[in-house]
């Protein structure tokens, strides 16, 4: 390794005798972190069994759980996300912003272009495919914040603004917090790149004991159920697409077969360790997604999309305070059905995305890191939502095409993308590309998700046996299947919210740890500088 990225030459008080894998047990050739692996796998197995054996009961339970959670916990999710945004913005302007991840002398490992591409890649996924067309249209037809749906201009504007709200600063602030904590404690303190390390300043060596086990177990649940939710959306959309293109019936059987096949493909890549294969696949998908967006921009109302991107960014900024507020809102259905669910879903994804962003951001200053992680993916989301949602909205309002609007009022969300493509040239090709994108995102997320979960459940070990990854890969598929059968999308959403809740608290505590860690770092750096000056 180059000298630049080696340990900083100042002494930092993160002294710990912890050794990676010290609490691991090795039954049957596995290498697992005893409490974390055992507890999380038992709970997941139990959950899958319960949902399969008591299907009717489970379905009813999830149907009840979803609204109950969002009604009870809206204040927590919404205030937590607001705190994350405010903290990120505050850190950008604070003196802590100049602290470098990896120590004073660290150099960025990746060029700006490479880094941006990877931030962009982290933010892309099944969700953008599923909601890109659907969400702006929905909010334009049923506007939040008491906007009159008859006022076309206002409805269109708030439709885009509300969608960007869900895909903009808030989700990326959630990811940025996790990524910043992981990066700081891994690179500046030399702790393992795992969630519990972020709690070192608060818990000291106890993070290697049960408080740490709890944190890691929660991270595993969050990742597993957040991922299962995405896989569920993907399965719904791909099935709808196959039905649309080839007339394959949209039944639970089709969905289950689809999840099984995709999981099997992800499994092959996990077993064979074809790292290069998955990497190329995900690069190919980036290019494909970008090409699809360009096509929609060109084939759709080009000028409207491009000027709309700017307009909707402004509309977003204007509506931001009102949309973030959760006190005395009239539009409870929007706030509970969309915002609260999204925040929970992003939080459940945060260990996964956060770990990736942390890994590629060594050598950046805190300021540079936060500005880029917050702004670049937000800008991409704005463009994406304007391309896909803007086209759908224009089809409805300007051309009188009711396809997507119909999907919204009938609530067949998985069809939205294909109904929008219907009115563009090369419909069949565009729809096919859409399905391929969903399927490949599916494979790559399932593959990398099992890697992240495996890393956490093997106590930070980097060379754990492949069997463990196989285990998690299969269980991701199984969780997605059981949730889809036991209550469909509502069950998936309920699971994401249920696991997002405890992890939201973990993230709030993480904020305190970040501030403590950065304050200490700055104190030491300033002291070192004064000492050097004397």
């Amino acid at each position: 390794m180059s000298e630049a990225t080696s340990e900083p030459d100042v002494d930092f008080p993160a002294e710990t005798d912890y050794e990676v894998g010290q609490d691991n047990i090795r039954p049957f050739g596995l290498d697992i972190h005893n409490p974390v692996f055992v507890v999380s796998s038992l709970v997941v197995v139990g959950f899958v069994l319960y949902a399969l054996v008591f299907q009717a009961q489970a379905s009813e339970f999830f149907g009840w759980l979803r609204p109950w959670l969002t009604n009870q916990l809206d204040w927590l999710f919404m205030s937590a996300a607001n705190i994350f945004v405010v903290l990120c913005l505050a850190l950008i302007v604070s003196p802590y912003g100049s602290i470098r991840l990896g120590g004073e002398a660290a150099e960025p490992e990746f060029s700006y272009a490479g880094w941006f591409a990877m931030l962009f890649a982290a933010g892309m996924g099944i969700g953008l495919m599923f909601f890109g067309v659907l969400e702006p249209m929905t909010h334009a037809l049923y506007p939040p914040l008491g906007v009159d749906p008859a006022d076309e201009a206002a409805a269109r504007s708030i439709g885009m603004a509300a969608t960007i709200f869900h895909w903009g600063l808030h989700p990326w602030a959630i990811y940025a917090i996790v990524a910043l904590a992981l990066a700081f404690f891994a690179y500046n303190r030399g702790l393992p790149l795992t969630i519990r390390s972020a709690f070192f300043p608060l818990l000291g060596d106890r993070v290697w004991g049960w408080p740490g086990h709890v944190i890691d177990t929660l991270a595993v649940f969050a990742t597993l159920f957040g991922l299962a939710t995405s896989l569920g959306f993907g399965a719904e959309q791909a099935t709808a697409g196959l039905d649309y293109l080839f007339g394959i019936a949209q039944t639970d059987t089709t969905r289950v077969v689809l999840i099984v096949v995709i999981t099997a493909i992800a499994l092959v890549s996990v077993v064979a360790g074809i790292d290069a294969g998955v990497k190329r696949l995900s690069e190919l998908n980036m290019i494909l997604a970008f090409a699809l967006m360009l096509f929609v921009i060109i084939a759709g109302p080009t000028w409207l999309i491009l000027s709309g991107a700017l307009d909707s960014a402004i509309a977003y900024a204007q509506a931001l305070p009102a949309l973030s507020n959760f006190v005395g809102r009239e539009d409870q259905a929007f706030m509970h059905g969309w915002t609260t669910f999204y925040w929970a879903w992003w939080i459940s994804w945060s260990p996964f995305v956060g770990m990736f962003i942390a890994r590629v951001s060594r050598g950046r200053t805190v300021r540079e890191f936060l500005i880029c992680v917050l702004l670049i993916p937000t800008a991409v989301s704005i463009l994406w939502m304007n391309a896909f949602g803007g086209t759908a909205i224009s089809q409805y309002f300007d051309q009188g095409l009711t396809g997507v609007a119909q999907a919204v009022s009938d609530w067949t969300p998985e069809l939205a993308l294909f109904l929008m493509a219907e009115n563009l040239p090369f419909t069949a090709i565009v729809s096919a590309v859409g399905i391929v994108l969903v399927l490949v995102f599916f494979i790559t997320s399932s593959d990398s998700g099992s890697l992240v979960i495996d890393t956490i459940t093997s106590g930070g070990k980097t060379d754990a046996p492949v069997v463990q990854r196989i285990f998690w890969c299969i269980f991701e598929g199984l969780v997605a299947i059981t949730l889809l059968i036991g209550g469909g999308l509502a069950a998936l959403q309920a699971a994401a919210i249920a696991t997002g809740f405890p992890f939201a608290i973990v993230l709030l505590v993480m904020c305190v740890a970040i501030v403590l860690g950065l304050r200490e770092e700055r104190r030491i750096l300033v002291a070192a500088r004064t000492a050097a000056a004397e």
Partner: protein, 131 residues
């Protein structure tokens, strides 16, 4: 006069590179040259928790086990693209000779060119490709 020999090795698959390692050691002895062992690892691995510096023990073990005591040797771990890092290291340590192996051309090599051929193309010094 050969004073410094650069030996790029994938330490994790040292057995595959035995021939080039032996050749480099032999040449170093003949010329009384210093051997600089370079281990290039990917910047980003799929297992995110594995950082480039985590490969250091492998390299140290390799140096102890494979490089004989009578040869003066240094080692370096770099993260990046193999052929690029090899050429950069050659310039940095002012190598007079790069000794490296060349695996049998596989499909991907026909398409992309092996690391050895890219190094031959761009190296600032002589390159000894061991077959």
């Amino acid at each position: 006069m050969v004073e410094t020999i650069l030996l790029p090795v994938d330490v994790s698959k040292a057995s595959l590179w035995k021939k080039s390692i032996d050749t480099a050691i032999e040449l170093a002895r003949q010329h009384g040259a210093k051997l600089h062992v370079l281990y290039v690892v990917p910047k980003l691995e799929r297992n995110l928790a594995r950082l480039p510096e985590h490969h250091k023990p492998e390299l140290e073990k390799f140096m102890r086990a494979v490089v004989p005591d009578d040869v003066k040797a240094t080692s370096e771990l770099k993260a990046g693209t193999k052929h690029r890092e090899i050429c950069r290291a050659a310039e940095r340590v002012k190598a007079d000779l790069i000794v490296m192996g060349s695996h049998n051309p596989k499909m991907t090599d026909v398409l992309l060119g092996s690391h050895a051929s890219s190094v031959v193309l761009n190296a600032p010094c002589s390159v000894y490709v061991v077959r």
